[in-house]
Structures are given as C-alpha cells and as structure tokens.
C-alpha cells in the first residue's frame, strides 16, 4: 500500500492489541498492520518502514466490518404491498338518480339526524343489519368480497334509496340476501310470504350491481299478468318484456330483443324448445315460478327448462315436495345439476341441499303477518243427503266387491267422487247442509264489509252457489271462464265494493293470484292434496294482508270427507318434517292403498293384493 496515499479511509484499530515494543507481532492476531497517515508526512520526519510491501488479508477487513466491531441498524425504510379487486359497475341505463319519495328526502335534508358525540364507535351498538354473505362453495376471493362489501339490505328499501310500495319485511330481506349470492337456489317459502317480491328485488339489486345483465322468468300462463304487476310495483326501473303468443314474434324476442328481463310461460317455452337450447341464447339468471311444474323430470317441460343456457338457476315454489322426495331431486336437476345424484338415499337429501334451500312458514314469521284462523266445520248432512249418501255408499261398496280382481283404483275414485258430490248437494232435491251454512256465514261477511272466496273441486256446485248468493254479486273464476276475461274479473272483485264473493275452482284459482284484500276463504269441498288446498287458502293469506284471514273447511260428518280429512292431516305433518330434517318423506296425497282403505272393501286388484 503506498505510504502517501491521501484518500485512504482510516480503519478502526485497537492499539492495545499491539503494545509498544511488541515489534508488530501478536501471538493471537499475527502481524500488526501498518499505520496509515491520511496527511502527507513531512519529509524531515523519520518513520518506520516495513521491509516488504503489506498484502491485504481477506480475513482482516471481514473481521473489522463484522460484529462485534460494527452492528447494522437494519432496514430503515418501510414498504407495503397491496392487492385490489374491481367489481362490476351498474349498466349505464341504471346510472340515474334513484327514485324515492320526495317528501322523505326533503325531511332528511331539512332535519339532519341528531348526532350523539358520545355514541360508541360503529359496530358495537349498531343494530343487526341484514347483509349478503358469500356462500360456502364460493371459492374466488373476488366473489366472496363482492357480497361481503354490499351495503346492508335494510337500508336500501326504507323508501330513501329505491322506490318500493312498502318496506319488505325482515324475513323477506333475508330471502333477498339468500338469493343474491346464489347460483343455485330454491326459495320454498310457504305460499303467501312474497316469494315473487323477494325474487324481483334480488334481481333488481343484481341488475343494479351489474352482476346480472339478462334474466328469464318462467311462470305458469295464468300468472304472467300477476308477474307483470309485481314487476311494475317492485322494480319500476327494470324494463321487462313478455314473450308474445305468436310463434314468429316469439322468435324475435328470443333472437333479437335486448330487453334485460323476459317473461315466458311454461307452455310457450316448451313449444320453443329449439330456441331455449340454442347455445347462442344465454341468461345470467333463470327464475322458475311454481317450480313444482318440473317435478316430473322426464316431462317435456322439465327437459326444456333444463336445456336453457344460464348462469344462475333459481326455483320458487311453496310445495317443493308435492308427493315424493323425488320431486325435490328432480327440482335440483334444474337448480344445480349434479348436486343430487338420481339414486341418492332420502336421508342424505337434506345434507346435500340445505345450503341451497330457504323455507320459512307463516308460523315462523307470524309477527309479520296477520293471523290465519282455521275453522273446520263438521256439518251434519240434511236428511235427504243422508239417505242418498247411505244408498250410494252401500250400493257402491257392493259393486266394488263384485268387481273382484278386476277392481282398480279408478273404480274407487269414482265412488269417492260420487259420495263427495252428495256431500255437497243432494242429487234429487238439491238440499245442501253446506250451502245453508255458507249463506249464514256470508251474511256475516257482508255485514262486516269484507269479501270471501269460495273454492270447490267442481264447476257445477259453483254455479248453484252463484245462484244462491246472487244478492252478494258473486263473481266466478274457473275453467269455463275464458282466459281473457279472468283478469278483469279479479280487478272487479278487488275494486267493486258490492262484489262480496268470488267463486273459484281449485284448478284455476289456487296458484299465484294475489287476493289479499279478502278476509274469508271457504273450502266448500276438500281437494285430494293438502298442498293444493294450502295454495288456495294463501290467495288471501299472503303478504299485504292487513287483517286476520278466516279459513272455513266444510266437512260432512261421518262421511268419506271426514275419512279423507284425517288421512290428509296426518300427511301434512310428514311434509313439514321433511324440509326441516332428513326425515323419510311420504306421498302428500292419497296412496293407492289408502284409497282402497277408505271403504270396507274385501276385494283388491291382484297387484295391490300381492
């Protein structure tokens, strides 16, 4: 190292290790390093010189720059990394100020909420909010965050942000929160709890989020009008289009129309099977109303519905199991193909499907709904009816027994129908214990300014009743009323204060109609399946109903009606159990064996007997 190098840095050096007189050597450290002067030395001064050039040793500098000689401070600069997600934006057509009642808005601006500065920070004292949550099978972080970051639903529909006719009930908000994140969902609320409104509001919010851009609603034909009305009510900012009747125009709707929301009835959809399965036609959501229509998986309707290309599959039905657990399995063939294999044991059904099913009964949400009062009226037949009934039953049973092995369930049905008709009216005199009671009850209904619906299995009794109740301006809604006349009849029933009674057949009037301005329901005769009866009752006992609903079920004492009623009541319990636990389901209507058991018949068809 040159002696006069001016720019060398001084190295830290411990002179104690090399005391004077040690001649530069230390037994531990070896040779002492040369002292380096930073300033040029005056030439007059003498200074020691090494005999040979010093060579740098790798060991020494390393030793001097490492602990314990020096200690690093570590990194002084702090860094951070971030990760982010972008969510879909609402489509431009929805980018406008939300509709809201002006009065409420004005109140908000004029009178700001008082702020308590001592209030606990958010979260600890805040009321429980109803929010969407990711589903268990949602795997992408972005999808999970999208639903976690949505604003609470209870703040959206209080009339300040979105226009709604009235604020949905809390259980309905929970239904919307259930539907929104789900690609496979079965909303199986009991009839009358507002499944339609929940589905519409969930769709509306998904459209607003930009998550959904096209949707198809499939509904029974008589309910299309009802859906249109509900859509206008619950989603006035959502444009929709109904598939026309003419095939050529339907083709345009399938192929050309850009309308985001389309409505089609099951019959038209089945006829348009080719369009439905067209790979070029896709819907972000398909909603099946009264989804029990596809409970038979081999039916043409079910096949076509399953063939629609879609992102989300929602099914709405109050009776997901009408007859057998297979009904539910077949519904899931649409809702989430593959989730429930065809031969799944019944005990596993609840486990496989529970995440996709939401069912609430009126009992659960009783606080939100006026009461439903069930009144089973057991009536004694009139003497003429009694005589006719006994004669018909005795003769009928004799005839059945005579049939021997040729007896079929149809023969028994025939007798049951005959007896039920006698329970309604005596065929010879027209006497009817039920009609007498109905006339008496109707006086009370009219006196209180209320309206009533009377259901029957047949049209003929309705015609007789119409005549008997003429002074109450009865309206009729059944299979003999042309389709285009039906909606005006319902409108008149709602609007005309003098029209106090609507006579309906189960077949025409039990599904989907909203008649919540009615407070009395009479079941003049009983249907075979409690699910159908429930549907009928719930035309009146549904969301929007402000008063208790009284349901009167006429049952003729000591007759076939009473026997059927007790069997059906037992079955009703089984249905409830199935949806709440993995219990063994059973047929909700009457099985063949049960039909034979209605009478004291010795004969049995060969198959049944075996």
């Amino acid at each position: 190292m040159p002696h006069d190098a001016p720019n060398l840095l001084p190295l830290p050096f411990d002179w104690d290790l090399f005391p004077p007189g040690s001649e530069g050597d230390n037994p531990k450290l070896g040779r002492a390093p040369e002292v380096i002067d930073l300033l040029p030395m005056p030439t007059a001064l003498t200074h020691p010189r090494f005999e040979q050039q010093l060579e740098a040793s790798a060991r020494e500098p390393r030793m001097l720059t490492q602990a314990p000689w020096t200690r690093g401070f570590g990194k002084l600069e702090m860094t951070v990394t971030t990760e982010g997600w972008k969510f879909p934006a609402p489509p431009p057509e929805l980018d406008r100020p939300p509709n809201r009642p002006k009065q409420k808005d004005a109140e908000d601006v004029a009178e700001p909420k008082p702020i308590d500065l001592t209030v606990d920070p958010i979260g600890t004292t805040a009321k429980k909010r109803i929010r969407t949550a990711p589903t268990a099978d949602m795997v992408l972080v972005k999808d999970r965050l999208l639903y976690l970051l949505q604003p609470p639903l209870d703040g959206l529909f209080d009339g300040r942000q979105l226009e709604v006719p009235f604020e949905p009930f809390p259980y309905q908000l929970e239904g919307i929160a259930f539907l929104m994140p789900r690609h496979a969902a079965l909303l199986a609320d009991e009839m009358g709890l507002g499944k339609t409104a929940q589905a519409i509001l969930a769709l509306r919010l998904l459209f607003h989020q930009g998550v959904v851009r096209s949707a198809l609603i499939v509904t029974p034909k008589p309910l299309v009008h009802n859906w249109c009305r509900e859509l206008k009510m619950w989603a006035p900012d959502l444009p929709f289009e109904v598939f026309p009747t003419e095939p050529e125009m339907r083709r345009t709707t399938w192929k050309v129309s850009n309308c985001p929301l389309k409505l089609i009835n099951y019959e038209s959809l089945t006829r348009d099977a080719d369009f439905a399965a067209d790979p070029g036609i896709y819907f972000d959501v398909v909603v099946l109303d009264e989804a029990q229509r596809i409970k038979n998986k081999d039916s043409k309707t079910a096949q076509v519905v399953r063939s629609v290309n879609r992102g989300r599959s929602w099914a709405l039905t109050g009776t997901p199991i009408e007859n057998h657990a297979d009904d539910l399995v077949n519904l899931f063939a649409f809702i989430d193909p593959g989730r429930v294999p065809p031969d799944t044991p019944v005990r596993l059904l609840a486990q496989l499907t529970s995440d996709c099913i939401l069912r609430r009964t009126k009992d659960l949400v009783q606080s939100d709904m006026p009461a439903k009062i069930m009144r089973d009226l057991e009536l004694e037949l009139t003497p003429a009816q009694q005589a006719a009934y006994l004669r018909a039953e005795t003769d009928g049973v004799i005839q059945l027994n005579e049939l021997g092995e040729t007896l079929t369930v149809q023969h028994v049905f025939h007798l049951v129908m005959r007896l039920k008709q006698i329970c309604n009216f005596d065929p010879a005199t027209g006497e009817s214990a039920k009609l007498v009671q109905l006339l008496s009850d109707m006086e009370e209904v009219v006196a209180s300014g209320r309206k009533a619906i009377v259901f029957s299995q047949w049209v003929e009794p309705l015609l007789v009743i119409a005549k008997a109740l003429e002074r109450y301006n009865p309206l009729q809604y059944h299979g003999r009323i042309p389709q285009n006349e039906r909606t005006p009849i319902l409108d008149r029933f709602r609007d005309d204060p003098d029209a106090h009674v609507l006579l309906m057949s189960y077949g025409s009037g039990s599904v989907g109609l909203n008649l919540q301005f009615t407070n009395y329901v009479f079941l003049f005769d009983r249907w075979w399946n409690p699910a159908v009866e429930d549907q009928a009752i719930n035309r009146a006992h549904r969301i929007g109903q402000r008063h208790p609903v009284t349901v009167t079920r006429f049952i003729s004492e000591n007759t076939i009606e009473q026997r059927i009623a007790s069997i059906l009541e037992a079955k009703r319990k089984v249905f409830t159990d199935l949806l709440s636990a993995a219990d063994k389901p059973a047929n909700r209507g009457l099985s063949e064996e049960e039909v034979f058991g209605l009478f004291d018949i010795a004969a049995r068809p060969k198959r049944a007997a075996g």
């Binding site: 990394t81 990760e83 939300p98 958010i122 972080v141 604003p151 942000q161 989020q209």
Partner: protein, 195 residues
C-alpha cells in the same frame, strides 16, 4: 422523507390548496373512498373501499400488515403512526386504486393528513380528538364527522359532496364491511400472497 411528515394538526393557519375539481355527474360516477387502518399483532393493515353514491362497492384494496421494528419506531418517533396511516398505507392504497375518490372518509385521525397529499376533501368519522379539527354534523353519518382545520375552506366542497351521497347511506357503515372483507381476505390467504 421524514421532513415531509411534519404535520401539525393544530396549526391554525390554513394551507393554500388547489381548487378541488368537481366530481363527475351521476350516482355511479360519484365515488366515495372509505379508508380504514386496523392494528393487530401482525402490524397495521389498511383497507380501502371505493363506492358509488349509493354505497355500492366499485373497488376494494387492502395492504399487507406493516410492523415497524424497534429502530424504526425510535427513528420515526411520534410521527410514526401518521407516516404509516397516511404516506405508507393510505396514500399507496388510494393511488393504486383505478378510480379516484370525490370524497375521502377515514376512521383514523392520523390519516386525515392525506388531505395535504391529495386534492380530495377528507373527513374523519367519530374522532375523539378536537384539536385541529372542525366538527361537522350531517344526516349522512350516524356519528360525528370532522375535517382538518388547516383546510377550513373545504367546507363548501365537503357539503356539496355530502349532498351527492344517497340519503340512505350512512358514512359510518361501510367501515364494518371493510373490516369483514379484510378478515375474509386474510383468511383466504391474500395477505401472504400480497406480501
């Protein structure tokens, strides 16, 4: 870098800020940024949610946890929290987000210094301190709002922007969502990935 952190929240003198640009029209074009800073044993984590005027999420971004070591704590001294909340985490989150906020709301009074780093009206919710803050009550928040007294002239812009927020929105509410989202994302391993 540390010089920049010298911010005295109590200074009565007003900063000379640039005129705040007007936000775009339309409820979905109007954006609100919600910034939260959470502390846990792993450090300070930032969560930032950008919503439209209806409170619906447009973007979400979160940071890794920052844990200052002992030397950093000594060197940064009392400016450490503000540096973390404002310059290191808050500013990074906002700048990395694609959409810019028309109004920024935070639950950390230390992050209020962001106002001096960007030309966006900034509010803090539920601040317990009062020095250097101007309190504001508004129907859009269930808790007290405040903004920096150094930017007293922001009041008009803040009020104009608050009027653009949908009446159903409570400015205190989205912080609950952000916290849940941060927890969820960390559960899904996002922190590890971002680190």
């Amino acid at each position: 870098m540390i010089d920049n952190l010298e911010m005295s929240p109590a200074k009565p003198t007003e900063s000379t800020a640039l005129p705040i640009p007007l936000p775009p029209a339309g409820p979905t074009a109007f954006t609100i940024g919600f910034l939260t800073l959470l502390s846990d044993p792993s450090g300070v984590v930032g969560g930032y949610l950008l919503t439209n005027a209806w409170g619906r999420p447009l973007e979400f971004r979160m940071s890794t946890a920052v844990q200052p070591n002992r030397v950093q704590q000594i060197l940064y001294g009392p400016t450490l929290t503000e540096y973390l909340h404002t310059d290191l985490i808050g500013k990074t989150l906002i700048e990395k987000t694609a959409l810019a906020p028309a109004l920024l709301v935070t639950d950390s009074v230390h992050a209020l210094a962001l106002r001096s780093r960007m030309n966006v009206p900034t509010l803090v919710i539920d601040a317990t301190e009062s020095v250097g803050l101007i309190k504001l009550s508004h129907a859009r928040a269930s808790v007290a709002l405040a903004y920096s007294s150094r930017f007293a002239s922001d009041r008009a812009a803040i009020e104009e922007r608050l009027e653009r927020v949908d009446p159903a929105v409570d400015l205190a509410e989205p912080f609950t969502r952000i916290r849940e989202a941060v927890v969820e994302a960390r559960k899904m391993g996002v922190t590890t990935r971002a680190a």
